[in-house]
Symmetry: C2
Subunit: 208 residues, 2 copies
């Protein structure tokens, strides 16, 4: 496939989500203009993005909703099953473990780890919290492709380095630092505060 820029990749989950909503509402085809209105993008941007990922519409017919959704799902690689381990059984780790929405999208949490003896053995979403020292054997015995980093900032890089050594290449990072990774690994940072700051902007400039 052609190289797809990060900004396009970041928009793809939004396309997937909106197309899924349209599908559940029984909408079978949609024009770039209509899709743009829903997503807050221009029709031209929509056509560029969709063209970039190698999908096509039919002149005058718009895009087939299900075909386009499936194509984007394939590009995003979410048609495959992903297995995750969660590092840190605090609020974020628990929220991720207990949410159904990740599993629905094919991201299954296999285990949750912590170092706090008070938490070890307690159940979260049906899984006993395991001690971090067990992670080596767990990863050798189970196929894991994503680590959810939900530990305090000062431990995040250390835990990540340990997981890199065990062959994990995907990191979903909730710690407020940028993880240092080798070229063969990837991370996505969740910076929750960023959203609040964007909201703060809109509260001030609502009438612009």
């Amino acid at each position: 496939m052609n190289y797809i820029s990060d900004s396009v990749v970041k928009r793809l989950p939004g396309y997937y989500r909106h197309l899924h909503h349209l599908e559940t509402r029984g909408v079978t085809s949609i024009s770039s203009q209509e899709l743009g209105d829903i997503m807050g993008l221009t029709a031209s941007q929509i056509r560029q993005d969709i063209n970039r990922i190698g999908a096509t519409g039919r002149q005058g017919c718009g895009y087939n909703v299900i075909e386009l959704k499936n194509h984007i799902g394939m590009v995003l690689n979410i048609t495959e099953h992903h297995s995750m381990v969660i590092l840190g059984a605090g609020n974020i780790g628990r929220a991720v473990a207990q949410s159904d929405s990740f599993l629905t999208e094919g991201f299954e949490t296999l285990a949750i780890f912590d170092i706090d003896e008070a938490k070890i053995g307690k159940e979260i979403a049906g899984m006993p919290v395991r001690h971090l020292k067990e992670i080596d054997s767990f990863i050798q015995e189970n196929h894991v492709d994503i680590a959810v980093v939900a530990v305090p900032a000062q431990y995040a890089q250390e835990v990540t380095d340990q997981l890199l050594e065990l062959g994990i290449c995907g990191f979903w990072n909730f710690a407020p630092i940028d993880l240092k990774l080798p070229r063969h690994a990837a991370s996505v940072n969740v910076h929750l505060t960023d959203g609040l700051e964007v909201l703060s902007y809109h509260l001030k400039h609502m009438d612009d």
Copy 2:
């Protein structure tokens, strides 16, 4: 101020965060090229963004890190204090209530509400969980500008409508739906699954 497009606004928290890191490391000035390398943007994009928000560098000297950080903080309106109430004392609500990082940025949680009798009165981050039926009087007696919507999807719009009637205009929405809002209100949606899907893409295309 000039109109700033959504895509620029969304990048501003990243600028703010990286400039803050540079400041704490004692870096006093930075070129658009260096800042671009850190942020994964081109130097030209950096100059355009910064120009768009009315800040300037000095020819040959780059940008003054502290000045630029403060300017972006002003544009984002995060120099002002914001008060939040949290709707929903589940994992997400608790994680937001217990995080220090929002308060550090000036976003203070005043109260947390739920409808589950088993949760009412229990303390989270030093605050007793209040019953949702008390929210009217709470908002009349306290200045609140942001509601954190952390309730199940099927209640999210209903709770939002109730808060709109009480004069709340800012919604930080964790429910996996797009809230319907009047023009005078603003929301930012946290779609956690989007990040996972972007990570899924990168896991597949790491060697591209």
